[in-house]
Amino acid sequence: MMRFIVQRAVWGVLVVMSVVTLVFFLIFVAGDPAVTILGPQARAEQIADFKAKKGLDRPVPEQFMSYLGLMPCIRKDSPKYLRADGTRGFCGILQGDLGESYSHHESVANVIGYRLPRTLLLASLAVLFELVIGLTAGIIAALRRNRWSDTAIMFATFIGISLPTYVTGPIALLLFAFLLGWFPFGGYGVDPLDHIYHALLPALILAIAGAATYARVMRGELIETLRHDHVRTAKAKGMPMRQVVLKHAIRNALLPIATLIGLSLPFLVGGAIITEKIFAWPGLGLLTIESIESLDAPVIMAVVLMFGIAVQVGNLLADIAVAALDPRIRLE
C-alpha cells in the first residue's frame, strides 16, 4: 500500500511538471501576454515598459527557469528581484512564489485565495446534492425495478444527463429567481449563511448531470449486487429486506461511486466555468476563463498547477477509497 502511494506520488509530480512546462510555452504560442493585457489601445512604450517590468523581454527559457525558481528572479516588481544586500533572489514556484497577476495588480496567491473558498463551497454543495439525490434515486429505481417509478427515474436521469447547464441555468434563474423569487438572482451574498443561500440554486443545477450519472450507476450496480450469492443467502436466512439492502448490497454497490467521486475532485477545485458565469458566482472558474482570455500568464499557470495536483490527488484518493471499501482489492 505504502509503496503504491509513493509510486503514484512520484508519477503524479512528473505529470504535473510536464503539464506546467507545456502550458508555459503554449502561452507564448497563443500570443504576447504584454500586448494582450494592455489591449488594443496600448502604446508601444507601455508594452515595452510592461515587458521590462515583468521580465518578459528575457529569453523564454530563462523566463521558464526563473518561473520554476531555478534561476534568479527576473520580475523587477518583486521584492526578491534585488534584495537588500544587493544580490538577486529567487521568485519561482519552488520558493512558493506564484508571482503577481498581470491584470489584477495583486499577488496570484491573493487572487486565488479570495476565490478558491467560494468554488469549494459551491462544488461541495453540488457533490452533496449529487450524492443525496443520485444515490436515493438509484436505490429506489433498483429496488422498484421495472415498475413505473423506475421508468420515471430512468427517464429523468436520461434528460438530466442530456441537458447542459447553459440550458438549465438560465431557465432555473428565470423560474426560481425572477418569477417566483425563491432564490437570489445570482451573486455571492454578504455573510456566510447568505453565501450558502446564494449557492443553493447553482449547486442544484451543477448537480443535475452528476446526480443522473450516480443514479444510473447505482441502479445498475445494486441490481447486480442483489443477484449475488451473499445477498441471496442473507435473504434465505430470513434477514429483513431492508437490512439486506442496507448492510450487504449498498456497500458493494458503492465501489464504482467512490471512484467517480474521486475523479470529480479536480472539478471541485477547478470550478464550473459555465455555471459560475450564469450565476455570477465569483469563483475560480470565472477567474480561469478571464485569465485565459487576457493571457494573464501567472494566474493561468497557477490554476493549471492547482488543477494538475487536484487530478493526481483525486485519482489517488479514488484508488485508496476503493481498496478501503473492498478488502479483496490490493493496491500494488
Binding site: V35, L38, R43, A44, H105, L179
Partner: protein
C-alpha cells in the same frame, strides 16, 4: 409477495405507463408555467415624489466583469476607472458638456512660455479621506510615483512631455525637473514642447493624487499592490470594503470640498453578466444599468413605461476596417476609397438596432470638430465606389481575394455583410478568424494583415487622441505599432504637430477639421460605426445623466426614496399609456 418472477424484455404496459408519466409531467409543467407570476413590464418601484434633492439611501449598480484595482495609478480598464472616479479627485475634470473645468485646482491654469508652462493654484479646503489637507507637494509626489519605473504604471506615455520625465522614468534623475512646487498651494508644469493635450492627461485618473504617508506605510507593510486594496483619495466617496470579485462598497465623504454627494452608500457589484443584470434591474434590485443585454435592450427601447428612465448616447469610440496602406491593393488610395464607398453601413444599423450609428469619419459625433456635412465623409455610394475602382485600374475588380482579419463571432456577422457589399465592386473577401491575442500581436506588425477589423475608444476627449495615435507616421513601429494601417502622410503629420502645439482653441479645431477631412478622403480606415450605449435607471434615481467623457457618472445622484421602496409594478402596457 409476487408469485411469478418478472421477466426482462419489452413489455408494452411498462412503456405505456412510462409514456403516460412523461406526458402527465409535461402537462403539469405547462399548467404551472401559465400560472407563474408575470414579470412587470414597467418599473417595479416609483419614487416618493420629493421635488428637492434628498440625502440618504444606497445606490446599487453593477458591471459585467472584475474591478482590477482601486489604485488610480494602475486603473486602466473601464471598471477600475469608474470606481476610481468616485474615490479620487484630480486637478481637472469635465462638465456635462465635455468642457474642461477645475476640480482640485481653483481655476484653469495660467498658460505661459507659448503653451509650454502651466501654473495651477489649488482650491482651499481640499482634503484626503484621512482628513489631511492636500498641498501642491501631494500633486507632485503622486506624479513622481506614477511616472517612476519602479511603479511601472501604464500611465507614463501620457506625461512624458514634462521636462525631465523620460530621464526620471529611466531612473537617471532623482526628480522630474518640469514639476515645480512653488508653494503649498501652487504648482507649475514645464513641458518640452507645447502640448495642449497635457491638460487632458492631467484630467485622467492616472493623475489623481494620493496621500504619501498612507501609501508609504501601506507599501512597506503589505507590498506594492496594497494601495489598490485600501484606497484613500480625495473623491466624494470614501472606501468601506471590497469583497474581491463580488462588490465594492463606498460611503459618502463628509469632508468633500464641493457640494457633497447625496447618497449615503454606493455598492458596485462585480461579475454580473448582462442577462442577470438586466433581469435584476427589471426586478428592482439594481438602481442603474449600463449596457443591458441585447434582448432587454430591445425591450427597453420599445417599452413606453421605461421611456422616461432610459437614455441612449453614442460612446466616444469608432469602429472601422483598417486597410494596410503598405500592402497591395490598399497602397492605392483609389482602392481604399472604393472600399469606403462600397460599404452599406445602414445594414449594420439594422443588424444591431439602436446599438450603432453609421460612421462617416474618424471623430465620433460628440467630439469637435466632427462635421456631419464633411465634404469628404465616407458614405455608401456604389457608383462612386465603381468609379474609384476604375481610377485604380481595376474596372473589373481584383483578381485575388482580400484577407480580412476578424476577432470572433461578433466580427464575423458584420464581415459577412461587407463580403456582399464588396462583391458588388469585384472584391472578394476571405475571413481570417484569430484569437484576440493573436490579432493584437500580428496586426501591430507591418506587412502582415491586409485588412482588419479595428477601432478606438478615446482615452481623453481630444481629436489628437484619435488622430495622432492612429494615423501619425510617428506611431508606426516594427512591432506593436499603434498606427495599424501603416498610413504615412507628411502633410497630415505637419497639421497634427502644429495642432498639438496650438494654444488658440479655434485655430486648433480648424487644423483638426482639416486633418479629419484628409483622413476621411485618404481612407486608411473604412469607417463603419460609432457604438451607442444604453443607460436605464429606476424612477426614484434622480439627477442621473450619462456623462460625455466618463459615461457612468454617479457623483450627483440623489434617491427619491421613502422609508421603503414603493411597489407599483405595472403588468400591462395599457397602464403606462
Amino acid at each position: 409477495m409476487r408469485s411469478t418472477p418478472k421477466t426482462e424484455g419489452w413489455r408494452p404496459t411498462r412503456w405505456l405507463s412510462g409514456g403516460v408519466a412523461v406526458l402527465a409531467s409535461a402537462l403539469l409543467i405547462g399548467l404551472a408555467v401559465t400560472h407563474f407570476p408575470k414579470a412587470p413590464i414597467g418599473p417595479r418601484y416609483v419614487g416618493a415624489g420629493h421635488q428637492s434633492p434628498q440625502s440618504g439611501g444606497t445606490l446599487i449598480f453593477s458591471a459585467g466583469s472584475n474591478i482590477h484595482t482601486l489604485d488610480p495609478h494602475f486603473a486602466y480598464d473601464t471598471l477600475s476607472t469608474a470606481a476610481c472616479r468616485l474615490l479620487y479627485d484630480g486637478l481637472l475634470d469635465y462638465d456635462y458638456e465635455g468642457n474642461m473645468i477645475p476640480s482640485l485646482a481653483a481655476a484653469l491654469p495660467t498658460v505661459s512660455d507659448s503653451g509650454r508652462a502651466f501654473r495651477f493654484e489649488l482650491r482651499n479646503g481640499i482634503r484626503f479621506h484621512n482628513g489631511r489637507e492636500i498641498t501642491a507637494h501631494d500633486i507632485s509626489w503622486s506624479l513622481h510615483r506614477l511616472l517612476s519605473q519602479t511603479t511601472g504604471s501604464p500611465g507614463y506615455p501620457f506625461y512624458k512631455s514634462i521636462v525631465g520625465a523620460p530621464a526620471y522614468h529611466r531612473g537617471e534623475a532623482e526628480l522630474i525637473e518640469g514639476i515645480r512646487v512653488i508653494d503649498d498651494k501652487t504648482i507649475e508644469f514645464q513641458l518640452d514642447e507645447a502640448d495642449q493635450t497635457f491638460l487632458n492627461a492631467l484630467a485622467m485618473p492616472f493623475a489623481y493624487p494620493l496621500p504619501k504617508e498612507h501609501v508609504e506605510k501601506l507599501e512597506a507593510a503589505e507590498g506594492p499592490d496594497a494601495v489598490g486594496r485600501h484606497p484613500v483619495g480625495a473623491g466624494p466617496f470614501a472606501f468601506s470594503r471590497w469583497e474581491r470579485g463580488v462588490q465594492v462598497e463606498l460611503h459618502r465623504f463628509e469632508g468633500y470640498w464641493a457640494p457633497q454627494a447625496r447618497v449615503d452608500r454606493m455598492v458596485f457589484l462585480e461579475n454580473i453578466s448582462p442577462d442577470v443584470a438586466s433581469a435584476r434591474f427589471r426586478n428592482g434590485d439594481l438602481d442603474v444599468i449600463y449596457r443591458p443585454s441585447k434582448v432587454n435592450r430591445l425591450f427597453m427601447r420599445e417599452s413606453k413605461a421605461w421611456a422616461p428612465y432610459r437614455a441612449e448616447v453614442p460612446s466616444p469610440s469608432v469602429y472601422a476596417i483598417g486597410l494596410n496602406c503598405e500592402l497591395p491593393p490598399f497602397d492605392n488610395v483609389h482602392v481604399r476609397r472604393a472600399v469606403a464607398f462600397a460599404i452599406d453601413r445602414s445594414k449594420l444599423e439594422r443588424l444591431n438596432p439602436g446599438e450603432v450609428l453609421a460612421a462617416s469619419q474618424v471623430l465620433p459625433p460628440m467630439l469637435a470638430p466632427y462635421d456631419p456635412e464633411l465634404p469628404t465623409r465616407q458614405v455608401f455610394d456604389l457608383e462612386r465606389a465603381k468609379e474609384e475602382m476604375r481610377l485604380a485600374g481595376f474596372p473589373d475588380g481584383l483578381s485575388e481575394p482580400i484577407t480580412l482579419w476578424v476577432r470572433g463571432e461578433g466580427d464575423v456577422r458584420g464581415a459577412q455583410l461587407f463580403q456582399q457589399d464588396l462583391k458588388e465592386i469585384g472584391i472578394e473577401i476571405d475571413l481570417k478568424m484569430v484569437s484576440f491575442a493573436t490579432y493584437l500581436k500580428e496586426t501591430g506588425k507591418p506587412r502582415v494583415a491586409q485588412a482588419a477589423f479595428t477601432g478606438w475608444h478615446q482615452d481623453f476627449p481630444d481629436p489628437s487622441n484619435f488622430m495622432d495615435i492612429l494615423f501619425h507616421s510617428r506611431s508606426i513601429h516594427p512591432v506593436n505599432s499603434e498606427n495599424r494601417s501603416f498610413y504615412r502622410n507628411p502633410r497630415l503629420d505637419a497639421i497634427l504637430d502644429s495642432a498639438r502645439a496650438e494654444v488658440d482653441r479655434e485655430k486648433r479645431l480648424a487644423l483638426y477639421a482639416e486633418a479629419n477631412a484628409i483622413l476621411a478622403d485618404d481612407a486608411p480606415w473604412a469607417f463603419l460605426s460609432y457604438a451607442v450605449d444604453m443607460f436605464a435607471w429606476q424612477p426614484y434615481v434622480k439627477s442621473f445623466r450619462p456623462h460625455p467623457v466618463w459615461l457612468n457618472e454617479y457623483r450627483n445622484i440623489w434617491l427619491d426614496l421613502p422609508r421603503e421602496r414603493v411597489s407599483q409594478a405595472i403588468y400591462d402596457e395599457g397602464v403606462a399609456r
